[in-house]
């Protein structure tokens, strides 16, 4: 048995933010080939560019499960760029210490977060590209919603997105 801290054991026994989000803004599936571990991560990004919701599933040891739980707790509410800066040592600290042999377990969380952000960005870019072609400049784009500055482009944008993408995207004027 590893010497795990009480905090780490608590995150292992009662992991926070477990599960999946309904139509998340970003989704990732990563695995650690050295370790056989795997993780799914969902994120929602709010209008300010912060992680508003986060949910994970993990196949891994107590250290992997606890560090995934810790990462989601730390990342929740943070701007994307800040969340991506969370280091392994900070996760270990958050968990009240970790056996050095288990440090590698937290790497998977980073990979998952990075991949989910990439997925989020790719989906936004896809929408932006569609709108740009039609000469529409959106105010804000998220994978599930688009804000426009004027009413006149609204119907055009809505029908265009419905035609090109197989998911529902709300178009609002703000």
């Amino acid at each position: 048995m590893w010497k795990y801290s009480d905090i780490l054991m608590d995150h292992f026994m009662n992991p926070r933010n477990v599960g999946s989000l309904e139509s998340p803004d970003g989704h990732s599936e990563v695995g650690s080939p050295q370790c056989g571990d795997a993780m799914y991560l969902d994120i929602d990004i709010d209008d300010q560019g912060c992680i508003s919701e986060i949910a994970f599933k993990t196949f891994g040891c107590a250290g992997a499960i606890a560090s995934a739980s810790a990462l989601t707790e730390m990342a929740k509410g943070l701007p994307i760029e800040e969340a991506l800066k969370i280091r392994n040592s900070q996760i270990a600290e958050f968990l009240g210490g970790m056996p050095p042999e288990k440090f590698h377990c937290s790497v998977m969380g980073h990979q998952a977060l990075k991949a989910a952000v990439e997925d989020f960005r790719a989906r936004c870019e896809e929408i932006e590209a569609i709108l740009k072609k039609a000469g529409v400049t959106p105010k804000l784009v998220r994978p599930g919603r688009v804000y426009l500055s004027s009413e006149e482009d609204r119907d055009k944008a809505k029908s265009l997105l419905a035609e090109k993408l197989d998911r529902e995207i709300s178009v609002e004027v703000k």
């Binding site: 599936e29 050295q34 370790c35 795997a38 993780m39 799914y40 994970f56 891994g60 042999e101 288990k102």
Partner: protein, 386 residues
Amino acid sequence: MMDTVYLDNAATTRVAPEVLEAMLPFFEAQYGNPSSFHSFGSSHMDAVEKARGQVARLLGAKAEEVFFTSGGTESDNQALRGSVKIDPTRRGIVTSAVEHPAILETARVLEKEGCSLGIATVNENGELDLDSLKALVNQQTAIVSIMAANNETGVIMPLREIGETAKEEGALFHTDAVQMVGKSPIDVHSLGIDMLSLSAHKLHGPKGVGAIYIKKGLQIPPLITGGHQERGVRSGTYNVPGIVGLGKASELALTHLADSVAEERKLRESLERRIKERCPGAFIVAENAAERLPGTVTVIFRGIESEAVLTLLDMQGIFASSGSACSTGSKDPSHVLYAMGIDYTLANSALRFSLSRYTGEEQIARTVEALEVIVERLRRISPYTQ
């Protein structure tokens, strides 16, 4: 302290109270050296010889064919390293993909030193592929070394057929019987075994002592040289308490084989049945093998990682094991499961439960109850169980 449930008897076993009792005098008043001239020491030779007889009876061997060593690993080393030194035209080692590292690592070292090495395969039930073995054994083979029973799956190997295969080409037949001795009957003479390794601590004896059976007439060069104890086959001052403990443990094991091994098998079968009923995604490794040890089983819990399960069991005082440990950043999943064609993720979901004659129904019930909750909890957070 809660009652512990120890289900890792393939790793080591508790010392039987009778064994401890038999050993204690040789730590206290009877501390002499059996090799001494004076009676204070030499009288202890009787105890050593009594133990030799007890071990021999368990194996169906003659007492003079049993030599005491420090344990299974040393016995394995002597068998391999010794047999490739006998005849310069016979330097080949043939073994199997599912051996214990004491054999596999030693064989690889000898390969680097110029011996040829052939590794026979197993099928998806963990049973030895006899054809693959036959294809590897030839006139250059010094030794065929195949375990009697596997430490992870409990699968029992076809010793008689392996022995015949070795004999046909004039090779020696060694078996690492560390897991088998005391769990399933073994008769070295009728099975055509030339050498056999065993370890005391796997059969409720002490750690640090074991034996090698060497068939009468066979000259195996020593691994450890020195003061010519054990007729020069294994030097070093007699570990009298350990040897006495091994002897007593062997005597008790014979009784167990006759009286209670069926009970152990029943409990293991009940554990398997209840796990399958109550833990979704669980299946038994080598379930369809022709013959398995009474008390050893590996279970794969699909979708959840074994170390996480072990950690949760441990918190409840239930001790089992897994073939791999997530420690250095590279888990080596069990080479045994790999050889059976079980993939990486499944191998990382494998747990071994190994019973003993001290295991009771209540402990099995507690284990299943704990597993049911643990598996449910871990499957809920697993990405592999949608």
